[in-house]
Symmetry: C2
Subunit: 193 residues, 2 copies
């Protein structure tokens, strides 16, 4: 077997590690850029059916998160702790902001905002004590700053997972009998933000 299979078992998940989180968050704009910018529009503009998102919508949603979700909530935890509840995140907040823009413009905007947010995050020089500080989520209740930042990273992966599924859907018929072997075509579409 490969040199590193079976070294890690179920239940040995990584603890939250801030430099690892920042490394993942740093890479996402370039990943999406390589995945989407040069593709024919039919890959990025088609969705999975009525009331579903296409890749363009997903990038808009990620931009909205950079503006209103992650760092604003981190600031709230640091300044107000559990005494103030986060503003609810608007899952459709990106729609108006994205209107009339090209996918290339959205990719540029996402890269710029992510870079600014990570600069601010690094400048906070968060300690383990800071990461254990608690805030209040409108639906989930008490959460820690550590959980918020870990979620920021996994939210990127949720949407990379979703975009790969949306794109694969477009060739559901084109692949013919191979469809049953392609895991991404069996995915039930559990991606939410």
């Amino acid at each position: 077997m490969a040199h590193n299979i079976s070294v890690y078992k179920w239940g040995s998940m990584m603890e939250h590690n801030l430099p690892h989180t920042i490394a993942l968050l740093t890479g996402t704009p370039a990943v999406l850029d390589e995945l989407l910018r040069e593709l024919p529009e039919s890959w990025s503009s088609r969705n999975e059916g009525e009331n579903t998102w296409n890749a363009f919508d997903v990038v808009g949603h990620l931009i909205h998160g950079e503006r209103t979700d992650w760092m604003p909530r981190a600031r709230m935890v640091l300044h107000f702790g559990e005494t103030r509840t986060f503003d609810p995140f608007d899952r459709f907040g990106h729609v108006r902001e994205s209107q009339g823009k090209s996918l290339g413009e959205l990719l540029d905007e996402f890269a710029r905002l992510r870079s600014e947010n990570l600069r601010e995050l690094r400048a906070l020089n968060l300690t383990q004590t800071d990461l254990a500080r608690r805030g209040r989520h409108p639906a989930l209740g008490v959460v820690t700053l550590s959980e918020l930042l870990a979620t920021w990273a996994i939210h990127d992966l949720t949407h990379l997972h979703q975009i790969s599924r949306i794109m694969a859907h477009q060739y559901r018929e084109a692949v013919g009998p191979w469809s049953k072997y392609l895991g991404v075509l069996q995915c039930a579409g559990h991606s939410s933000s």
Copy 2:
């Protein structure tokens, strides 16, 4: 709603389009490079539990496909049609080849092989008649060259979908109560090759 939601309905999936397929296949090595090369190893070396793959294994598997699956099968369709059955693909064929290599070396090798294969594919100047030609898959029976090439592209997406899920799994506990909102953590792991 966004400018391009609801334009496409279920059932209006794209037909196979060779330039679109080549565009997607062209981008994948850079997507994986941006996703994996600079990450701390703990993101790319951990798997989802015993007998599952980590990101390193997935890149090895993609390399093995470049060597033994896609273009060799395309050549067989063009040369022998249905009269010869494809060699079965070895889902563990990458294990020995990957041994002792670094993730960076695998990413370089994948990029080089993909580039060579796409150069050969383009040089074939396939016509619609060629794309309709039939070959014989050991388990699926008769398949077309068009279906084989569409599957090559969606196979990339299946493994991008899988890698995003494997990586997200590492923070399953770190995200705390947010886990129920993160679609990628609900994915049942239906990725096979």
